[in-house]
Amino acid sequence: MQFSTLLLILCGLVVASFVLARRRAIATAGGYKGIRSLHSLPAYYGYFAAMWAAGPALLLLLLWSAASDPIIMGRVVEVLPEPYRSIQGPELDLVLNDVRVLAAGRGSGTEQQQALQGTAAHYQSLQAASRSLLATLAIFLALAGGLYAYRRINPRLQARNHVERVIRAVLVGASTIAVFTTLGILLSVVFEAARFFSRVPFHEFLFGMEWSPQTAIRADQVGSSGAFGAVPLFTGTLLISGVAMLVAVPIGLMIAIYLCEYAAPRVRALVKPVLEILAGIPTVVYGYFAAITMAPLLRELGQALGLQVASESALGVGLVMGVMIIPFVSSLSDDVINAVPQSLRDGSLALGATASETIKRVVLPAALPGIVGGVLLAISRAIGETMIVVMAAGLSARMTANPLEAVTTVTVQIVTLLVGDQEFDSSKTLAAFALGLVLFLVTLLLNVVALVVVRRYREQYE
């Protein structure tokens, strides 16, 4: 049976449970007139039965789809033809993959695939058996669940409360998915990073001053020593983020102040969507802008002033990244400035302060913790930003505080280390995970601190 057919049948069963249970609930109450004697509205009895019909069957589908293939493959391995009996590990995976390809009818007729024809047929038959077993079981479960709920219906059954509990469970489930995904990502990064640190000492990575991840293939190659000191990457990231924050924080803050304290409603209604558009521009476009417009512009400007500006200067990248972050800063600051009670502004104005004195002496100090929180979030965006720097920042690690020189960042290195054909167990690729871990931890820390600061601030004005 096709999987989609099975799903349709299950849906039908669920709907039928709903309709029948609802009808029975009304019947047990003695018709529509007696509905007030029911604990819950009739539809809740319908949902109650529908949940019983759908829940167990869905759970079975989930478990089956996760567990069936490994079990079937275990059986397939047992019937592999003679030459493949003894192989193991990655080679076995290749063989089994061929079996899958053949079973799906996409074989390309290689020698190995011809030898595996029989196995593939066996695999197919096992799969078919598995599918029909699943269909039978699922339909049975749906029927049994629906029937069980149907039998339980009586006016005192607290269907409404049961439904509430199930809804709650579903919502909790949804949020755990997010948490577990984050944990999963973290664990995979930690795992790979640990492999890296078993080859390169931790302190050498964190405090080393030289970054040159290309290991030599031939002994006579130069500049390929394979050094993994990440400090130049950190300083490069800091330099670019620093320039970006120098642009984004003052401008974003001034925009927020203008919008909150000075702008007429009509101006506000115009500027806010424009800022949202700015926030919605894909970073790839900012990347173009940085590489194609900003970099040459700065070069020419530098030449006119007699300055040496690298074409991948940190300044250019940082400026564009700053523009990207402006809406972020302005909308966060806008929120916190708006949260400062109007009564404080009134108090200051009533003492004869001007609007700007009020902002400087009352509104901003009161909003400061929230603004700091917003800036921290913005910093974490800046150091995690990838596309702009990949397109417009340099590749070679250089330790400098001069924004006119080219520097590289953590994210750029992660991308260059992983892009292209790579073996996934060389120090070079594993270094990307170590960098990723650092990035993850730093942004996590920044976000947590920012959230705590902002929350404190909110409580202050509850």
Partner: protein
């Protein structure tokens, strides 16, 4: 008569012809030595006509209590006197508002200077998120009233003393003003207002968020302050109006219905609406 106050027919019908002052208001709107004079004041918030043709004087060293049901325009009226309505989008003020004979709404009037001369205390205490000292020093600092730190100290201590708060806070002046109790916060706000040495103090229900003891302290304070300042106080408590004020103005639906000496208003009001309100049959 009814044609002048034309927007609300049933209310207009209640308003009896003049009893001695401007048409529309019963009682004498004049003060012997007025600081503030209002003639024919009107306020619109967009479509809402919140203050209708109000005329009233506030005398030097006099406490005038403004009473009336919620939404009758008491706050609107006092906010006209220091132009706080300027901050409200769509508020439109017409009529004659004078401070010491100067037109408050004249184009050449400096709003900032006006507000130092007409101070305000709000319904909810609103100390700044600063230290107690800085809260009081705020006004003197922005207006450059003190030439040295010791002058500033004098102003701050003097204001706190006159607000009856100094003894309670003198050893924690550097602590945040928001950490004080509600009543202390309100006295801090009063200290903050008198620190810039205004001529008039407007108080909009200054005790409505306070407990009875804190309220009593503020009332005593108002009594003392009335020796140096003209005070207009909005209150919902008839007892409070009776205790602190010399004159009472009763507002109703944006109109000033009756003005008179406090004991006259509470014992023998001339207007039906006033009588209904002060005897508790209304509002």
């Amino acid at each position: 008569m009814a044609s002048r106050i034309s927007t609300t027919m049933d209310a207009a019908a209640f308003v009896a012809p003049a009893g001695g002052g401007e048409p529309g208001t019963v009682g004498d709107i004049h003060a012997s030595d007025p600081v503030i004079t209002v003639r024919g004041g009107n306020v619109h918030y967009g479509e809402t006509h919140a203050l209708k043709n109000v005329s009233l004087d506030i005398g030097r060293n006099e406490v005038v209590a403004l009473i009336g049901p919620s939404g009758c325009g008491k706050s609107t009226f006092i906010r006209c006197l220091n132009r706080m309505n300027d901050t409200i989008e769509g508020a439109r003020v017409t009529g004659e508002f004078r401070l010491d004979g100067q037109d408050i709404y004249a184009p050449e009037m400096d709003v900032v200077m006006l507000r130092t001369r007409v101070g305000m205390v709000f319904q909810k205490p609103n100390p700044f998120a600063k230290s107690i000292y800085e809260n009081v020093a705020y006004g003197p600092r922005i207006h450059g009233l003190a030439r040295s730190r010791s002058e500033l100290d004098d102003i701050v201590y003097g204001s706190l003393r006159r607000a009856g708060l100094l003894d309670e806070v003198k050893d924690r002046l550097d602590r945040p003003g928001t950490g004080l109790s509600g009543g202390q916060q309100q006295r801090l706000c009063i200290a903050r207002a008198i620190a810039v040495n205004p001529e008039v103090i407007l108080m909009d229900e200054p005790c409505s968020a306070l407990d009875p003891i804190a309220t009593a302290r503020i009332e005593d304070l108002i009594d003392e302050l009335s020796q140096n300042y003209a005070i207009a106080i909005v209150t919902h408590s008839m007892q409070q109006a009776a205790r602190v004020s010399r004159r009472v103005a009763y507002f109703h639906l944006g109109m000033l219905v009756e003005v008179g000496a406090t004991d006259k208003i509470f014992t023998n009001p001339s207007h039906r609406l006033t009588e209904d309100y002060v005897t508790g049959r209304f509002g």
